[in-house]
Symmetry: C2
Subunit: 91 residues, 2 copies
């Protein structure tokens, strides 16, 4: 995107873009939008069923508005990436 961006920076921008693709202008993910994002964009890493999704939203939703804002979403990314990183370390 930006000619001088590193792979890491492009990765961070990708996280932002994917969030906004699903959140739209309201900049928050409803439960169904989070589910679509996870199932479409993170299916190699995690899978969520409806009952897990309820618990996940409750865990992530720190301000209790029943939607996931970007700070709450990046917490999920951090958790999943961190879990994946542990797998990478064992190889």
């Amino acid at each position: 995107m930006h000619r001088n961006m590193s792979d890491l920076e492009e990765g961070m921008v990708t996280i932002i873009k994917v969030f906004h693709k699903y959140s739209g202008h309201k900049c928050k993910l409803k439960k169904a939008e989070l589910k679509a994002l996870i199932n479409n964009e993170m299916s190699q890493f995690i899978m969520v069923k409806n009952e897990t999704l309820d618990k996940l939203v409750a865990d992530l939703d720190q301000n209790g508005d029943l939607e996931i804002d970007f700070k709450e979403f990046i917490t999920l990314i951090a958790m999943v990436t961190s879990a994946c990183s542990e797998l990478f370390q064992t190889t």
Copy 2:
């Protein structure tokens, strides 16, 4: 990399790879390694001087071992990405 990975997943893997490139097999970043990572890989997004670096390491280093493990590093990525996301929202 993996033929079925989404852009988001590739972004997450990039974060893991960049961390390990600088941490080596010990899987922790010393202060100088964190500085090199930030200055080489995140220079479009943040800049750290030596005095800021001390404070940053102290802030990130939750377990007090004076090194930054992956969970502490992903917190930095989350903070910077979250700050960048706010800039994106204003455009």
